[in-house]
């Protein structure tokens, strides 16, 4: 191979995002270490398990692109699940329960947006506060115990099939398509990176940046409400701490996917790859009988490594 061809090859490789390398490397490692990993049922399982995370990571990408953060999204998802279960039990209707979950999710999202956009409270402290509120509501509603005895029809949403495809994947695909459409094919989508990169310019262009921010956080809450349906279906019950901490996996997926915490640069496909990477990591460690504490440490280290390479790239520029 001539030097020119090598350099060309390197530059093509250089354009492949880091998350793709990480994903391929993880798959290779786990496939060689545990025979159960690269079977069709397990790979499907990884995707199905990742669907809930994707629902959180998609809006998180938007939010981080605006130089924001949503630490409350795991607690809001949990609250959505608790409300869904409580309302479904009280009314006997899953539909009413689901609508209630969507409403509470949207309400928390808009509350975050209002506190951040109108009251100018920094996003991390806003959403830390609403995390406390949502978590507190979960505990108060359930009195710290699980809500069980939900209608059996609920199970379809996580373990059912639609046209031969697992239903959570259908939901995840629709969510991805919609969020992709919003980010890359609507005017709202063009405002998202501008909010992070140059909010002042956006304001001068006559855009009501506050409303846009509220809409973005609102979408996050709504997606948490949708995810609540899958989560409740998955565990056939609601538990006050079911998804506490899932915001970390969502933020990790976005960071690993190459979205920047500053400057408003983001990439939705990267988030999808990031979500699958986290899913593969957790699944593979699970198959190797690693406790969840090790999984959390690995996700944390993955984020730090991703941010480290980000920092190197920034320094090179």
């Amino acid at each position: 191979m001539s030097e020119g061809a090598l350099a060309q090859g390197m530059s093509v490789l250089g354009r492949v995002p880091g998350v793709a390398f990480v994903l391929v490397a993880l798959i290779a490692v786990f496939a060689s270490m545990s025979p159960g990993f690269s079977t069709a049922p397990n790979l499907t399982n990884i995707l199905v398990q990742s669907s809930i995370l994707l629902l959180l990571a998609l809006p998180m990408t938007f939010i981080i692109m605006t130089e924001g953060l949503d630490l409350s999204i795991g607690a809001v998802l949990t609250l959505g699940s608790v409300v869904l279960a409580a309302v479904a039990l009280a009314t006997g209707s899953l539909t009413v329960g689901f609508i209630a979950a969507l409403a509470i999710g949207l309400a928390f999202g808009l509350l975050n947006g209002w506190l951040i956009a109108w009251l100018d409270i920094p996003p991390f402290v806003t959403t830390l506060g609403t995390l406390g509120v949502a978590q507190g509501l979960c505990l108060v509603i359930t009195d710290g115990t699980s809500i069980v005895g939900l209608p059996s029809g609920l199970q379809f949403f996580y373990s059912g099939y639609f046209l031969g495809i697992p239903f959570p994947l259908v939901i995840a695909a629709i969510a991805y398509a919609v969020m992709h459409g919003i980010l890359y094919h609507t005017r709202l989508g063009t405002y998202v990176p501008a909010l992070g990169g140059n909010r002042e310019a956006l304001r001068h262009a006559g855009v009501n940046d506050r409303v846009v921010l509220a809409v973005i956080y609102g979408i996050g809450g709504l997606m948490a409400g949708i995810a609540a349906l899958l989560l409740t279906s998955r565990i056939s019950s609601a538990h006050p701490t079911a998804a506490i901490g899932m915001e970390f996996d969502a933020i990790a997926a976005v960071a690993v996917g190459g979205t920047q915490f500053e400057r408003g640069e983001g990439w939705l496909l990267g988030t999808l790859l990031g979500v699958i990477t986290i899913g593969v990591l957790r699944n593979g460690l699970n198959l190797l009988a690693m406790p969840s504490s090790i999984q959390v440490i690995c996700v944390g280290l993955l984020v730090i490594v991703a941010l480290f390479f980000d920092g190197m790239r920034k320094a090179q520029e």
């Binding site: 953060l69 100018d120 409270i121 402290v125 507190g136 009195d143 504490s293 090790i294 944390g300 941010l307």
Partner: protein, 326 residues
């Protein structure tokens, strides 16, 4: 001469601003105390008041290091997890060696290492502090769970337990420690170059760097101090609880941040004080104590703490934007 005249009133204004800030918060403390003594007979007893102060001292130890970090305009979200990891390591060290001193060294050492990790991520890797310390939160928490593997460690020597539950002249020992650290902290922040540089970095990092302040090394220092104080707090917590489990620090971050923001330290850096944080911790503890006395279920605590954080930050922003426009 004219320069001095121009500068003098400005200085006077900031001093009175600090004083009014503290006065408002002391007024809040007084109002809460009056309200609680009206609704509950158990409130105005020496036992309960000392108990409140003891709880407030624990919050203060965690929040004092965090105050320094926030004064520089950064944040440390890993405090609770650092307390958890330090407490668990210290617990096993005390258990296996029988020496509280080695345990104390372990706790403060672990806390400092975690803090240094935070500092290096922020200064060397240039990761925003909220995300670096958030990642650290989960790494430290995972490490704690792994280290304890579901076990709990309990039953410590009496001498060590005095640190959390002992009395001297009828007053709990942690309160003496808090007063000592308040005095040391006051001199460190207000009367040393280091302290003034911390304020300067928070007020304007670029200006601080240009005027020759070693910004990165001061940032590392405040993160290490934050971790070390979390380690110290973990000892008092451990001595009080007399047991350690993996989830020991999980719920501590939100109240700690609450104490700092209630105390009037601005999340944007440069404004605030350790004394303010002490009062902030006191206000938070009084409210939680009141809920306790009124038999409100502990499940309400995260909800109320979350609301207090939002309210405190909002009030702070409101008063600040008013004075800024003046």
């Amino acid at each position: 001469m004219s320069q001095i005249e121009a500068a003098a009133p400005k200085f006077k204004l900031t001093v009175s601003r600090d004083l009014t800030d503290v006065a408002y918060r002391l007024l809040a403390v007084a109002l809460i105390c009056i309200a609680l003594s009206l609704v509950s007979d158990a409130f105005l007893t020496a036992n309960n008041l000392l108990n409140v102060l003891r709880q407030a001292s624990l919050v203060f130890f965690m929040a004092s290091g965090l105050t320094l970090v926030i004064l520089t305009g950064k944040i440390d979200l890993s405090i609770g997890a650092t307390v958890g990891l330090s407490a668990c390591v210290a617990a096993t060290v005390i258990k296996s060696t029988g020496s509280p001193w080695l345990g104390a060294a372990a706790a403060i050492g672990v806390g400092s290492i975690v803090g240094l990790g935070n500092g290096l991520m922020v200064t060397k890797l240039r990761i925003p502090s909220f995300i670096a310390t958030y990642g650290m939160l989960w790494v430290a928490q995972g490490a704690t769970y792994y280290y304890m593997s579901g076990q709990s460690v309990y039953g410590f020597p009496t001498g060590f337990r005095a640190l959390g539950s002992g009395y001297l002249f009828g007053i709990p020992i942690p309160i003496y420690l808090m007063v000592a650290f308040l005095v040391i902290g006051y001199f460190f922040t207000k009367r040393t170059t280091y302290g003034q540089q911390i304020y300067a970095i928070g007020a304007n990092t670029v200006a601080a760097r240009l005027s020759g302040i070693p910004v990165n090394s001061r940032l590392n220092l405040v993160f290490v101090l934050s971790g070390a104080m979390a380690g110290l707090a973990s000892l008092i917590y451990l001595a009080r609880l007399n047991s350690a489990e993996g989830d020991i620090g999980e719920t501590l971050t939100l109240p700690t941040i609450a104490a700092v923001v209630i105390g009037g330290t601005s999340l944007f850096g440069g404004v605030g004080s350790l004394f303010g944080t002490f009062i902030g911790g006191l206000i938070l503890t009084l409210i939680l104590n009141g809920m306790n006395l009124l038999n409100l279920n502990a499940n309400w605590q995260p909800l109320v703490t979350g609301l207090i954080v939002l309210l405190a930050v909002w009030l702070d922003m409101k008063t600040r934007s008013k004075t800024d426009s003046n």
